[in-house]
Symmetry: C2
Subunit: 201 residues, 2 copies
């Protein structure tokens, strides 16, 4: 991995990943660094820890706090926030599309648009029509990419990515990984991850 | 509660509480605010969530990350860090002394000295001699306060405090509570808690 690229591991179901992804581009680019978006699924990792849902559902006090914290953070960053009807949203389709398009130039715009629809507007990202509209919006062919999302190679690529996350010690999202292998977990660590890379370049 | 006082809820066993408590005084005082230290025990709250130990032991990937994160944070803040042999340390005695002394002027100095011994020097805070030495160091009578720590009224005060923490929706430490009742969880939220109060004074 180039010495100036930060890996940004996230799950579309993760609220704090929404906040991070919306502000990462600007922060990383103004730092002179690059970002590699690494969408993955936390579900299998949570299940391995014995949770059958988001920890924010498993632990209600934590969940209540998280939504209040999100309100404050979104106000601070000037981001819209609307809670979707179902939490956590089932992000499999959105994530497979992102994996299918992992080398494409539109990936960053796609990820932002998904998060904006989901947590900015409270829309249902399991809806294929919504994902198609987002693909169109970012200049990608909806038919082609939805088809690729369903291919065996894409499914396998996603499984491999979840395995890689687990092997790297990732247990939550967002997680930022520096070129020298440091993990920084949480939206509140984005700046520290950037500093880490800048001090070592 | 006065409009300029932040409640700082912490557990002596909590590593991130160590980092926060060491830097809170300076930050809060230079902000023109006051702090009320609220030591409590997370154990009963964790047990109610189904954990029989620290989440950093229950979830090894999280634990591994936490220690690395602590190394980085302590380097950033210029704090010593030495891992005690037993984690989490059993903080009952240290906490009962703090509850007994909850209205005393030496409370802040005592709490700092306990954390410094525990996570700065890696010493065993279940050791009564150590707690006695710390009390002496902060100008308090060790015999008197160790005796008060064992009194029924102190034990009850600690139980009441844990109940109060749970009632307030506290699920981790450190937690900062503002005069208008906002909860901020985590060392990384200390600055945001201060800003919150300063903007509303």
């Amino acid at each position: 991995m180039p010495r100036s690229t930060i890996e940004f591991w996230f799950d579309f179901a993760s609220t704090y990943s929404y906040v991070s992804l919306m502000r990462a581009d600007e922060l990383i680019v103004t730092s002179g660094l690059r970002v590699k978006y690494m969408p993955f699924l936390l579900g299998p990792i949570f299940r391995a820890q014995g949770w059958d849902s988001s920890p924010f559902n498993v632990y209600p006090a934590k969940g209540k706090y998280m939504w209040r914290d999100m309100e404050r953070l979104c106000a601070r960053y000037g981001l819209p926030l609307k809670r979707p009807d179902t939490f956590p949203p089932f992000a499999l389709l959105a994530t497979r599309v992102a994996l299918a398009a992992r080398e494409e130039g539109f990936l960053a715009a796609y990820c932002k648009a998904v998060f904006h629809a989901e947590y900015g507007l409270g829309r249902d990202i399991t809806d294929k029509q919504l994902i198609a509209a987002i693909l169109e919006q970012v200049g990608a062919d909806p038919v082609r990419w939805l088809e690729k999302a369903g291919e065996e190679a894409t499914k396998q690529a996603l499984k491999d990515r979840v395995d890689a996350a687990q092997a790297k010690g990732i247990f939550g999202a967002p997680t930022f990984i520096t070129p020298d292998g440091e993990l920084f977990w949480g939206n509140d660590r984005l700046e520290q991850a950037l500093e880490w890379v800048l001090r070592r370049r």
